[in-house]
Amino acid sequence: MIQMYHVTKSYPGGVEALVDITLHVPRGEFVFLTGASGAGKTTLLKLLFCAEPPTRGQILLNGRNAARLRRAAIPLLRRQIGMVFQDFRLLPRRSVFENVALALEVMGLPRREIRRRASEALAWVGLEARQAQPAIRTSGGEQQRTAIARALVNEPYLLLADEPTGNLDPDISLEVMELFKRVNARGTTVLVATHNRDLVTRYPFRTVALEKGRLLA
């Protein structure tokens, strides 16, 4: 599913966010990505999402070279990858429902289908009651759950979740993890960047640790 070979990412300022990362994640695996603040977790996920290009090295997604994608192919790729952003990236004035539905609208699904699937995804994260509220007018945890619902609504083959429980209480965090496990069980490859030691120790999944941009063995 994911193959990274000697990937390095330096930002314009001279920061080396990732250094010589070689990493394989087989299809259907569930992987935790850990590391201190500033270790490069978000950067790694952004590279996989084609939100940033790698400075050096190769990234293969499903066997396709991510760096060589035509510009027009990126939207199609992103529709098949669900990403939960650390800062949510919701449209602030659109309702919770519309934010989730957006991921389906861009694919041009029929309206009824969009309704059905978006409502379903909101139910997964327990946001049925908030769906009409503008995203900016919901609590931090509600925004995070909206972002999670949006990432899952189009049944991606790869889920990238960046600190998805940072604003959630332990109970809801566990529910979200159970949701990710179900999604994983249906075949989606899952990569979760997290600081939450509870989760990492509670689940027996493979953990990849970063330190200052380097993989810890």
């Binding site: 027009a72 939207p75 199609l76 992103r78 919701l90 957006l102 609208e105 861009v106 041009g108």
Partner: protein, 301 residues
């Protein structure tokens, strides 16, 4: 982008317009005022041209006849002149008519002319020109033709007066064209830059759309539609403002100051130009948004 998505994109444009109501309102005002400026200049030009047309109606050519021309020859000459392409109307002024007119000009001093047994003044044709030839060049051309005719001794058309009026109008047109051209360009730039500002203010939104897998057309179309809404409303508002100003002008100031200048007074934009303004609003709205998108893409955040 699929056809099925069009209603969604249309709805999105309308929602976007409402969601950024204040921004869009301000943009519409800027656009409307830019069009007011352009339309106002158009109004000015139209009305000055129209007034100037009234002036050039006064351009006429006088052909003085050779002395002792027979009535038949005169009649023949008259119909030949009437047949010339530039000529709208021909009026015969006999020698006696000319003397009478001269007496009228002299006023009380006319009694001094009583010693004359015969009019010393020649008979003439006063020739009105067709509208399209009412210019110094047209009059000159006609004068040339007339001079070639048998029985015409001399031709005059108030060369000086016509030349000067002509020069003045040409000057007006030239300055007007340059300023009008600059104005048109300015309006285009103002309108499209205003769109650019409102699109730019939504870079974040655009970025989020990209992140959820929206294609470029999916992102661009609602913004283009929104630009067209802005342009349309701006153009309509500008026509409303111009019409209000026009009404005010005709009812309040016109009577006292320009009375008698021309029967119809001042004219408003003909409907074709009004439609053109609306069309320009839509077009500039679309172009402006597209340009803005290009610009936003080419610049890092």
């Amino acid at each position: 982008m699929r056809l099925r998505q069009l209603p969604y994109l249309g709805r999105t444009a309308l929602e976007g317009f409402r969601a950024h109501a204040l921004m869009n309102l301000i943009a519409v005002i800027i656009i409307a005022l830019a069009f007011v400026v352009g339309g106002g200049f158009l109004l000015l030009v139209i009305n000055v041209e129209w007034a100037a047309e009234g002036w050039s109606e006064q351009i006429q050519v006088t052909a003085y006849l050779a002395d002792g021309l027979s009535a038949e020859a005169t009649q023949g000459l008259r119909s030949r002149i009437a047949g010339l392409p530039e000529v709208a109307q021909v009026r015969y002024v006999s020698k006696d008519d000319a003397l009478k007119a001269f007496r009228g000009q002299l006023g009380p001093r006319a009694s001094l002319l009583q010693g004359l047994t015969e009019s010393p003044l020649p008979a003439s044709f006063e020739i009105a020109l067709r509208p399209m030839h009412r210019s110094a060049d047209g009059a000159e051309r006609l004068a040339g033709r007339l001079r070639d005719l048998q029985g015409i001794e001399e031709v005059s058309y108030g060369q000086d007066w016509v030349r000067r009026l002509q020069g003045f109008l040409e000057f007006l047109r030239l300055v007007g064209a340059v300023i009008g051209g600059g104005l048109l360009l300015s309006v285009i730039f103002i309108v499209s830059n205003t769109m650019a500002l409102t699109v730019l203010a939504r870079r974040e939104e655009t970025e989020i759309l990209q992140l959820v897998g929206a294609t470029r057309s999916f992102i661009a179309l609602p913004l283009v539609f929104e630009g067209m809404i802005q342009g349309l409303l701006g153009a309509l508002l500008s026509l409303g403002l111009l019409y209000a100003a026009y009404e005010l002008f005709t009812t309040q100031l016109y009577l006292q100051a320009v009375a008698g200048l021309r029967p119809g007074g001042i004219r408003f934009l003909p409907w074709q130009l009004g439609a053109a303004v609306v069309g320009a609003g839509l077009l500039l709205g679309a172009i402006g948004s597209l340009l803005a998108l290009g610009r936003a893409e080419s610049v890092e955040r």
